[in-house]
Amino acid sequence: MEGLYCEHMTVRYGRRTVLDDISVGPFPPGRVSALLGPNGSGKSTLLRALAGLGEATGRVMLGVDDLTRLNLAQRTRRCLYLPQALPAMVHLQVLESMLAAQHATGVVPSDVQGDEIDAALHMLDVFGIADLSMRYMDELSGGQRQLVGLAQALGRHPDALLLDEPLSALDLHHQFAVMEILRRETAARQIVTVMVLHDLNIAVRMTDYDVILREGLIIAAGAPEAVITPATLARTYDIVARVEKCSRGLPHVMVDGLR
């Protein structure tokens, strides 16, 4: 089987079971997938468990490789989780922070000609922020730091990129720009990209595979049109919603009220 998937995953925080024996995926390579669901439904927990952070039982597979057999450093090289918290406001230049991320577990081989500075600049350029390379992290806006965080992550060339609400610090322009970049890079590198999203319209328009969670259970999984329906939204969010075609024939989610 291709892609990233897990089998019989259980995660407990103390006595509370957050994820109970769930199997999900495969999240397909070359495409952007989304995890949807209300707050506290276990989306971040699932992403972290897939990446091997925190304690979880169950098996995580990437293609034919069992990631659960790898140690933390090897595993994070293959499958990288990007936390929701922005990179801290440290007195470190953007370029230095890229180099540090590269060196965190030994230097990751680059895919561009030249040295690590070229590689870092190339990756910053992918996200359109090469001009920030000599600025200090503690001078940047939240959105800019978010873009640096994404560049750090992609710069390590993972096979799977797990993003926890990567759009939350971004304005509308950058939300769409980042989605475009992620779709493009995901396809070009044939990596698995999974992100936690709250905006259903971005999910329905710009992702290819969606999973909806509620209280640690999978409500639905599949193509966006099949997953984001009035029935599942009602079950997941307790809302009355419609999914209609807009004037250009694209699906659009509208919320009419609470159930």
């Binding site: 291709e2 390579p29 990446a51 952070l53 990437l62 293609g63 933390l72 450093a73 595993r75 994070t76 090289r77 990288l80 989780y81 990007l82 936390p83 918290a85 922005l86 990179p87 801290a88 440290v90 007195h91 470190l92 230049q93 370029l95 230095e96 922070s97 540090a100 991320a101 060196h103 965190a104 577990t105 895919d111 561009v112 000609q113 030249g114 500075i117 070229d118 600049l121 190339h122 350029d125 992918v126 090469a130 390379s133 000599m134 200090y136 992290m137 965080g149 750090q152 992550a153 390590r156 060339h157 096979d159 493009r184 890079e185 070009a188 590198r189 044939q190 990596i191």
Partner: protein
């Protein structure tokens, strides 16, 4: 699963037209930055050497430079008193200042990084207070570790409590869900607890012991001896390379604990290693010279302002700044008031604070 590299190298974005020119410029500026930082480290080192020479040359006995050099080169051909002044007082004091400053500077720098708190230091998290309690047990109650020679009793007791306090901090940091805030609050609780215990002992102490203890807690380099100096220097030589080897991981840790973990850094392990190094350096330094913790708080801040937070420069920078501040304090302590050696702990704070405020309050940072 990954597509062969050549097809990934030219993906997606054609790097904007001017990127190679831009890369050349950035590389030049980055290398300039590295050179400037190396230069700053060199300058700090030179200042330390100058400060040690000055510290060594100045003193109430008014020995001339030629007499000092003669005593250094031919210790057996000079009057005995002169030899004692040079070899048993001036030289160990001057070198001890450097070692203590370097130890506390490095300990403070690592503590601030792994506890993610700018207020962390051996002084603010109870290591100094614990050492003071150990010292007070020795001075007031005469409690001693079995088998410790007389000259080491106070330092020995102080060391046991200092290292115990760091191990307690480490235990708290290992608890599940113990955030960095918890560890810092626990450290502050330690400070108050040990201060209260020291006060209790002071309350029951006789006058002589009380005077000894108060003097001890003020911190003084006059307790320097060659064996203690050697032990502390050896600890620095062993521990510092281990710290430097963890530079990249510590730099990544500064960007956030969760982010560091997601980049493959084993955060609990890095934190444990750092706290172990911190415990050795700070406990030794504080137990030998008393409460001179302030430099451990200040030196990292100064180093961060001067050198940024790339730990390859920040850690050695913090060591050197600590050593320089201590050495300057040592000069001031012995020369500020004629004929009196002011306890170095007092002077460190008085010398360090203006320096510190000047750098922290200056808005434009350099790097």
């Amino acid at each position: 699963m990954r597509v062969p590299d050549e097809s990934v190298g030219t993906p997606s974005v054609s790097p904007s037209a001017g990127l190679s020119d831009y890369a050349r410029e950035v590389r030049g500026r980055y290398q300039g930055l590295l050179r400037r930082r190396m230069g700053l480290l060199g300058l700090l080192l030179a200042l330390i050497v100058a400060s040690v020479v000055l510290d060594f040359s100045l003193g109430p006995s008014g020995l001339s430079p030629s007499a000092l050099i003669r005593t250094l080169l031919h210790p057996h051909h000079v009057p005995a008193g002169q030899g004692v002044i040079v070899w048993q007082i001036r030289l160990p004091y001057a070198l001890m200042a450097v070692c203590v400053g370097a130890s506390l500077g490095l300990a403070g720098a690592e503590m601030q990084t792994v506890l993610a708190n700018p207020l962390a230091s051996p002084f603010t998290l109870g290591v100094s207070a614990a050492a003071a309690f150990g010292a007070s047990l020795a001075i007031i109650l005469g409690w001693r570790l079995p088998g410790v020679p007389d000259a080491w009793v106070v330092s020995g007791d102080a060391f046991v409590f200092a290292i115990g306090s760091v191990l307690l901090l480490d235990m708290v940091s290992r608890r599940r869900n113990a955030g960095t805030g918890t560890v810092v609050l626990f450290g502050i609780a330690l400070v108050f607890a040990f201060h209260a215990l020291v006060s209790l002992l002071q309350f029951v102490a006789n006058e002589d012991a009380l005077q000894d203890l108060v003097f001890w807690t003020m911190g003084s380099l006059t307790r320097a001896t060659w064996p203690k100096l050697g032990l502390l220097a050896a600890a620095c030589v062993v521990v510092a390379p281990l710290s430097f080897a963890a530079s990249w991981k510590l730099t990544v840790l500064r960007m956030g604990e969760e982010r560091a973990a997601s980049l493959g850094v084993d955060v609990p392990r890095v934190r444990r290693g750092a706290l172990l190094r911190v415990s050795i350096l700070s406990a030794l330094a504080v137990s030998f010279v008393g409460t001179i913790g302030f430099v451990g708080l200040v030196a990292p801040h100064i180093a961060r302002r001067l050198l940024g937070e790339d730990h390859r420069f920040y850690l050695p920078g913090s060591m050197l700044v600590g050593a320089l501040v201590m050495s300057l304090s040592s000069i001031a302590a012995r020369n500020l008031l004629p004929g009196v050696v002011i306890p170095t702990g007092i002077v460190t704070a008085l010398v360090g604070i203006p320096f510190f405020l000047g750098i922290v309050l200056r808005r434009r940072s350099m790097g």
